[in-house]
């Protein structure tokens, strides 16, 4: 268990390290002079001012030095200041991050509730009309783009029925974006749950459990679900990171005030420090979640726990 954990943590740190390299070099991937592009929308910047910005961002230094300087700042919690408004990037991001996490978590809860139940039922009733119905719905769910489903829900529930607000960041505003994000991901979880459970139902230990005279509910709950959950948990971890990504789109559709919406604005405004900060923070969240999922995986599967 300890070596498993150490291995995962090492992989996590390595991932973040590689991300910092990519992020710090991001600015050079833009064709042309990054400083000119950044300030292209600003009126009346003199060449001296641009030179000053260049020096402030360290862009006149060799790449190696630039990276070391960047890491030095990042390790002190300084992600730079935004081009527009000259605000500290970290503060801006941290102020918005909880909103995105709330959205992604609510969506995950919805996705798991729908996905696990539908997948389990489809597997248990495999080959019946119910299975076909559930899995056809799942294909529809997987195929629907977030922004499209979001707009449909928005139009129907907020504009037509007027049950829910169109945009904003209150509790009632959470419902539509969470459902949008949840439903599309529920479909993926349902499909995976179905195949994982079908796999488990065919295992010999399920037959052993029945041969012991255990009631069906106990066999399904204790023996099948517990064993089938192991691969599903890994998948759900991945789903959470997809949802963080999906949140970028959904936040924009519903005007939800999270980091995703801010990132899109930053991209439109060529606000490089903010974009860099966003990518780095996103990477850290994704890595943290995957480490958490590994822990959960190990807890569920004794073959890993006791290694």
């Amino acid at each position: 268990m300890a070596s498993f954990l150490a291995q995962r943590l090492f992989a996590a740190l390595l991932t973040i390290l590689v991300t910092t390299v990519a992020v710090s070099m991001l600015i050079h991937l833009v064709p042309g002079d990054p400083v000119q592009i950044m300030y292209a929308q600003s009126q009346g910047t003199t060449p001296e001012q641009l030179e000053e910005v260049r020096a402030r961002l360290g862009l006149d230094q060799p790449l190696m030095v630039q990276y070391i300087q960047y890491m030095g700042r990042v390790l002190q919690g300084d992600l730079g200041r935004t081009i527009r408004g000259d605000q500290p990037v970290l503060e801006l991001l941290l102020a918005r991050l909880p909103n995105t996490l709330i959205l992604a978590t609510s969506a995950l809860v919805i996705a798991c509730a729908i996905g696990l139940v539908c997948g389990f039922v489809a597997a248990y009733r495999r080959g019946t009309w119910l299975d076909t119905l559930l899995m056809t719905s799942a294909i529809l769910g997987v195929s629907m783009p977030h922004f499209w489903l979001g707009l449909i829900l928005l139009f129907y529930f907020a504009v037509h029925l007027q049950w829910l607000p169109v945009a904003g960041s209150g509790a009632a505003n959470l419902v539509l974006p969470a459902v949008t994000l949840g439903v599309t991901n529920a479909a993926i979880i349902a499909r995976l749950t179905r195949s994982s459970m079908i796999d488990v139902f065919d295992q010999e230990f399920i037959r052993t459990a029945y041969a012991k005279g255990l009631p069906r509910a106990l066999v399904l709950y204790r023996h099948a679900l517990r064993a089938g959950l192991v691969p599903i948990v890994t998948m759900i971890g991945l789903q959470f990171t997809y949802m963080m990504g999906g949140a970028i789109v959904v936040e924009n559709v519903f005007g939800w005030n999270g980091v995703g919406r801010m990132a899109i604005q930053a991209i439109f405004q060529r606000d490089y420090p903010l974009i860099q900060g966003f990518i780095l923070m996103f990477a850290v969240v994704v890595v943290l979640v995957s480490v958490l999922m590994d822990l959960l995986y190990a807890w569920l599967d004794p073959r890993i726990r006791n290694r």
Binding site: T208, K212, G213, P302, R303, N306
Partner: protein
């Protein structure tokens, strides 16, 4: 493995025949497949008596495992179903019992162990949990009492440090130890019938002998009847009191183990015996070669007319191809389903 066996029963029919525990009559179990409906078990009858070890023998696909699952009511439906016949236990026909009633019997009065101990236990549940859940289900013991009983059962199947091992998981055990655990689980509610489906096939030869020994001990101490399913005539010789030979879903021969080995009355049984390696001869220069039965068991959806064994049988005649031989049932005695039983020569052991 030698084919000699300490003869426990006298050669003549015992005056007080042990009482029947489990009676299978004309059992038919069907499976629906894409190729059509296949009868995996087709009109099989046999009786398991008090305290006896009955071996059900046959190749893969002969229907022996399906027979045992039918008795347990564990045929997956769909695609399978019991299409006819009866399984009488304790005055009740198990094929007509509902799921609740079957649950009370399974693991309690009729227990079962399987071929692959490694995959027959749940990898994510502790051994303790998997041992106590059945005990609690059938006895109403508390968790603490059930654990005590589980430890006792583990001692009986010679598992060292049972208290410690209770908290461990299947992957921390060897195959032989897991089969001991399976046996401990199966015996934990003192069943009257133990169905052992190829219990030693997946194990090393030395471990095989230990597991068979353990099963014999348990039979002696608990008086349980054992239905031993195997394809290994060596195991049959060592364990069984009586033998039922199955082929393509039918019973083709039945009799006491001594009779079957000395004078098989069905060419298929004869073939199985000939396929048994004789210690010290096979592989040597000039030694006897291992014999095999040519061909394979026919597909259940594509059975030959007449005798099902006719296409693999050296004694096959036109009559065999045209007419299905009936099972000449001489109750309790040695009988077979073959037109040419009398043409079969005794085995080597009987002649030498």
């Amino acid at each position: 493995m030698s084919a000699t066996k300490s003869i426990e029963a006298p050669n003549d029919e015992p005056a007080t025949r042990p009482a029947p525990v489990l009676e299978v009559r004309d059992l038919c179990t069907e499976f629906r497949t894409k190729a059509g409906v296949g009868r995996a078990v087709d009109g099989v009858s046999f009786t398991l008596h008090e305290g006896e070890i009955l071996a059900i023998v046959g190749e893969s696909g002969s229907g022996k495992s399906v027979t045992s699952l039918s008795i347990m009511g564990l045929i997956p439906d769909p695609p399978g179903r019991i299409a006819g016949g009866s399984v009488t236990y304790g005055g009740r026909d198990l094929t007509r019992l509902d799921e609740k009633a079957l649950q009370k019997l399974r693991g309690n009065e009729i227990a079962m162990i399987f071929q692959e101990p490694m995959t027959s236990l749940n990898p994510v549940l502790s051994i303790g949990r998997q041992m106590t859940e059945g005990i609690r289900q059938h006895t109403g013991m508390s968790e603490a009492e059930a654990r005590k009983h589980a430890v006792e059962m583990m001692r009986r199947v010679s598992i060292p440090a049972p208290e410690k091992r209770l908290g461990e998981y299947p992957h921390q055990f060897s195959g032989g130890m897991l089969q001991r655990i399976m046996i401990a689980i199966a015996m934990s509610c003192s069943p009257r019938v133990l169905i052992a489906d190829e219990p030693t096939t997946a194990l090393d030869v030395t471990i095989q002998a230990q597991i068979l020994e353990l099963m014999r001990d348990l039979r002696a101490t608990t008086g349980a009847s054992i239905m031993l399913i195997t394809h290994d005539m060596g195991v049959v010789a060592e364990m069984a009191d009586r033998v039922v030979v199955m082929y393509a879903g039918r019973k083709v021969e039945e009799g006491r183990v001594e009779d079957i080995f000395a004078r098989p009355r069905h060419p298929y049984t004869r073939g199985l015996l000939a396929a048994l390696p004789v210690l010290g001869t096979a592989g040597e220069v000039g030694g006897t070669q291992l014999n095999e039965i040519p061909g394979v068991v026919p597909a259940l959806t594509d059975l030959p007319n007449g005798c099902r064994f006719s296409d693999r049988c050296a004694l096959s005649t036109d009559k065999c191809l045209a007419e299905d031989p009936p099972f000449a049932d001489r109750v309790g005695a040695h009988s077979a389903a073959c037109w040419h039983s009398d043409r079969l020569a005794p085995t080597m052991e009987a002649t030498s």
